[in-house]
């Protein structure tokens, strides 16, 4: 209470503590209910170790690792969209069927109307955007709780899917470009180039930001902490890239890979750079644009945002549009993965898993707290569970129950963190 805020005083400069100081700072934030990415990363590590010990010969294979990454992509995209909606403290229960409807639009346009893929994809995205616009307007302008609005859309879009595709029907989509999104890989050279660009880009951005802060005389995180993060990222992505550039064509080939004609399969799946591009872009929007700041403000205290001159309604509508458009991207991923669209596309547990992914990653159900990377980390946790459990038990009932328990666990962590934050806030 007695320290000055002037940057010249030693107490205010936070780089004096170095790594241990940063660690103490993290513990303080943890006590205050700010858990960050740690629970999701720890969960991921524990699950991978667990499945490797129990069923290593099936789970911990090169082919399954690549499979796991592509499996998680649709969930990750829908979850990234849900992060925007959850940040407002709202929910979108129709995101799964928005993905399904966008997939159906893509399928119908390409197969029944002969539209080229580069026109069909914008068509599918536009479908998502329009759905989001309508949901957002109902929530923001009429003031209907998003829970009810999107529950109605959940049912309505299910009906649309049935009408468009026909009961029990399936639309096959045979297009090499659409197929490539989820099933083709970067060449080993391009894979390593991706690794260099991602790690180098991260290093450059964090170091330059620190340098600018130092030049402006503002407190900076110590170089040791930044270096630790860069090295950790490099090691993690380096190992992953190294595993993925190994030949996985003949050994442990799943049905998806056999479709490639049993030829050589190696490299990072194409969907990985697509996810990375979206993560970077959307994180930039949330952290470095006024719009993103206003999204957090509306989620934290809508009345304060309104008094600050922010158009709360427009922010809500924009978030629903972004959420549904990203769900539509997830829908395109479904089409690519299955090469077909059915009335079940985007149904079943799709939405639940996407919500679980966002929450497991650390996005709060109460609004105001969440990051895009949460969707990726949570999506990977969900993919590992979904991918590893069938090796242990074929019982669908057990798989549902385990996934439900993980979701409840994540939601409990979220609720407890919120109570801790309220308690330390005095």
């Amino acid at each position: 209470m007695t320290t000055s805020i002037a940057p010249s005083t030693p107490e205010a400069i936070e780089d004096s503590g170095g790594l241990s100081g940063e660690f103490r700072g993290y513990l303080a934030r943890l006590r205050g209910g700010d858990t960050g990415s740690v629970p999701a990363v720890l969960g991921l590590i524990v699950l991978v170790i667990l499945f490797t010990i129990l069923q290593g010969q099936s789970f911990a294979t090169k082919g399954n690792f690549a499979n796991l990454l592509t499996q998680s992509a649709p969930t990750i995209f829908i979850a990234m969209g849900l992060v925007f909606v959850l940040l407002l403290g709202e929910i979108d229960l129709s995101a799964g069927f928005t993905a399904g409807t966008a997939a159906a639009v893509l399928g119908v346009l390409m197969t029944q109307h002969g539209v080229a893929w580069w026109l069909a994809i914008p068509g599918a995205l536009l479908t998502g955007a329009i759905i989001g616009l309508l949901i957002g307007m109902l929530v923001a302008l009429l003031g209907i709780p998003s829970f009810v609005v999107t529950l109605a859309w959940f049912l309505g879009l299910q009906g649309v899917l049935l009408l468009v595709i026909g009961e029990g029907g399936t639309i096959r989509v045979d297009n090499s470009v659409i197929f490539a999104i989820m099933n083709n890989n970067l060449s080993p050279l391009l894979s390593w180039l991706l690794f260099v660009v991602v790690v180098g880009g991260y290093a450059m951005v964090t170091l330059m930001a620190a340098a600018r802060r130092r030049a402006a005389g503002l407190p900076v995180v110590s170089v040791a902490v930044i270096a630790f993060k860069i090295v950790a990222l490099a090691v993690l992505l380096g190992v992953a890239t190294w595993v993925l550039v190994q030949e996985r064509g003949s050994a442990g080939a799943s049905s998806v890979f056999l479709k490639n004609g049993g030829t050589s399969i190696k490299g990072v799946p194409i969907v990985v750079p697509i996810v990375i591009i979206f993560v970077v872009l959307l994180t930039f929007v949330l952290n470095h644009l006024s719009f993103g700041r206003h999204v957090y403000a509306v989620g934290g205290n809508a009345e304060a945002a309104r008094r600050a001159g922010i158009n709360v309604g427009n922010i809500k509508i924009a978030c629903f549009v972004i959420g549904s458009t990203l769900a539509a991207v997830g829908g395109i991923m479904f089409v690519s993965r299955l090469s077909s669209v059915s009335p079940q596309t985007g149904g079943s547990t799709t939405l639940l898993l996407a919500v679980a992914a966002a929450v497991i990653g650390g996005t709060s159900l109460f609004g105001g707290k969440g990051r895009i990377i949460d969707a990726v980390l949570g999506g990977l946790v969900i993919a590992v569970i979904n991918n590893g459990l069938p090796f242990i038990t074929q019982e669908a009932g057990v798989q549902y129950i385990v996934t439900a328990l993980v979701l409840l666990l994540a939601a409990s962590v979220d609720a407890i963190a919120r109570r801790r934050a309220a308690a330390t806030g005095r």
Partner: protein, 268 residues
């Protein structure tokens, strides 16, 4: 919008001057010809019982409501204020009792909310952090360790400080504080009152709404007492005792101060 014609505000001419303000909500006549003056460099305490019309009056000054009648003069010019944007443009900032801060954002993000500094379309965090530091330093605030602390982890007094700093960040001329000490402990109340005094000493006009007579006597230069929608009296704080202020609040008059009998009957 309205440019100041005076470079140095005179201490005699009021910064804000209201004359004969009327405001009704349907059949309820809330403000019945209220006069109020506030000077640059002075703290004007606005006191009154619940329902006396304090909130309506300051919301009208802020432009959240439009007054039905009366003169609204700011910086020597008659102005019309019909939205919060109008009052902000004049340099009037209000710190509401509930502070309107976002718990999930840090101090800098809250202070610049809705008016962020940008370079191009990208948020200019460095400039905002520097300006926040400068503003807090200018107010001699020593209770905040880092301006990158989230508001959720601040104490009540610190939050009040942030809300006030947010109000003075925008070259404001008049800051209106709605019961800034109502929820605070003794030490924090002292900190906030010192801050209020410093605002006035820095040349700003301050209107302080308070129910606490100790606060009023400690920092106010002028006391304005509202009684059932009428201004009972606006007098220099040094010329009245705490007892007289309480009488003005509860009965609208104290000795020869305040509303005369016929006016009070008209009210009743």
């Amino acid at each position: 919008m309205t440019e100041s014609t005076q470079t140095t505000p005179s201490t005699t001419a009021p910064l804000l001057s209201l004359r004969g303000i009327q405001k009704s909500f349907g059949a309820v006549h809330v403000l019945k010809g209220v006069d109020l003056d506030a000077w640059a460099g002075k703290v004007t305490a606005l006191v009154g019982d619940n329902g006396a019309g304090k909130s309506t009056l300051i919301k009208g000054i802020a432009g959240i409501y439009s007054f039905d009648g009366g003169e609204y003069t700011f910086d020597g010019r008659p102005v019309s204020v019909h939205s919060p944007k109008d009052s902000n443009a004049l340099g009037i900032e209000i710190v509401y009792q509930d502070l309107a801060l976002c718990d999930n954002l840090d101090v800098v993000q809250n202070m610049f909310l809705g008016r962020e500094d940008r370079s191009g379309i990208v948020l200019d965090e460095l400039t905002m952090e520097r300006r926040a530091n400068e503003t807090l330093k200018g107010l001699s605030v020593r209770t905040l360790k880092s301006v990158r602390t989230k508001v959720s982890s601040l104490s009540g007094g610190q939050r009040q400080t942030v809300a006030i700093a947010k109000a003075v960040l925008w070259n404001s001329k008049l800051v209106i504080l709605d019961e800034p000490t109502a929820a605070l402990g003794v030490a924090q109340t002292e900190q906030v009152l010192n801050l209020v005094r410093r605002l006035a000493d820095n040349g700003l006009g301050v209107i302080l709404i308070s129910h606490n007579m100790n606060d009023v006597k400690q920092v106010a230069d002028s006391v304005a007492a509202l009684y059932l929608g009428q201004m009972a009296a606006q007098v220099p704080a040094s010329s009245v005792t705490t007892g007289q202020i309480v009488e003005l609040i509860t009965s609208g008059r104290s000795g020869d101060l305040g509303l005369q009998a016929d006016a009070r009957e008209a009210v009743a």
